[in-house]
């Protein structure tokens, strides 16, 4: 498995693939079992949002390094309808899909870094990172 890969997302089957690949890559970095689960769950949420709201898009995974920190980067991007009010979308319980509205704010809690850029009519891009702990050396 390379250090970087992108998975085209166009159906709910791809959600399973995305989180499996994410788990694999993260496992190579030495994340704990709990952290692997957190990462896979966050990937599941953002990938499902693509399928649900934008129909198609892409999920990219890569290993990132910052100083002596190593981690995984997850980027979910689509050219879907975009999100008119990001602040609202990031609130627990806000959903236009009659769902729980926990996907985005929840994914943010599961990861160390979370950034969302979206423009109505252009698309949405969610960038998330998680760093390996206790890896000072």
């Amino acid at each position: 498995m390379p250090d970087e890969l992108c998975i085209p997302v166009s159906s709910e089957i791809d959600i399973v693939t995305a989180r499996q690949k994410g788990r694999e890559l993260a496992a190579r970095l030495g994340f704990s079992n709990t952290e692997l689960t957190l990462i896979a769950t966050a990937i599941s949420e953002v990938t499902r949002n693509i399928v649900e709201y934008a129909r198609r898009g892409e999920l990219c995974l890569s290993i990132v390094q910052q100083g002596n920190k190593r981690g995984i980067s997850v980027i979910a991007s689509d050219r879907g309808p975009g999100i008119p009010n990001i602040k609202l979308a990031m609130q627990d319980g806000y959903s236009t899909g009659h769902s729980l509205g926990l996907g985005l704010p929840g994914a943010k809690r599961l990861m160390d870094e979370f950034e969302i850029v979206s423009e109505v009519g252009k698309g949405t891009k969610v960038t998330m990172k998680k760093w390996v702990q206790n890896n000072v050396r």
């Binding site: 709910e12 959600i15 399973v16 989180r19 709990t34 692997l36 689960t37 957190l38 929840g106 809690r109």
Partner: protein
């Protein structure tokens, strides 16, 4: 991936065998809800031991399923949620409100026995 559903006395037991796609999960929900009616089951156990991710969709679907089953007069117990998965679920903000949970199949059966026996007493 189909989930086998076993009928054991008054109960139905669904043991998930591998990671499920959304469609698989929806199918499981529909199957269980219809079988509960068909067999007049009093309890349902869904064993999720093998699942290493329970995201908002899975949680919402299981919750909705338990409510539908309740409307048909049976109890649902979700068993086998792994420590990491439980941790991840609460971090995400997910709860299985109104759904019983137990450590594993054995505990789930004990719980159902307990609860349906209570119902019996009340019924008499």
């Amino acid at each position: 991936m189909l989930v086998p559903i076993l009928k054991q006395g008054d109960y139905l037991i669904a043991s998930i065998q591998s990671e499920l796609s959304d469609a698989d999960l929806l199918k499981l929900r529909d199957d269980l809800v219809s079988r509960v009616g068909e067999f007049h089951s009093r309890g349902v156990i869904v064993d999720v031991t093998v699942l290493d991710v329970m995201d908002s969709f899975a949680t919402r679907t299981l919750r909705a399923m338990a409510h539908m089953i309740m409307l048909r007069g049976a109890e649902t117990v979700i068993v086998g949620i792994q420590p990491e998965v439980a941790f991840s679920m609460v971090q995400l903000g997910l709860k299985l409100e109104g759904v019983e949970t137990a450590l594993d199949l054995e505990e789930g059966l004990t719980l159902l026995d307990h609860r349906t026996k209570g119902d019996n007493k009340r019924a008499r």
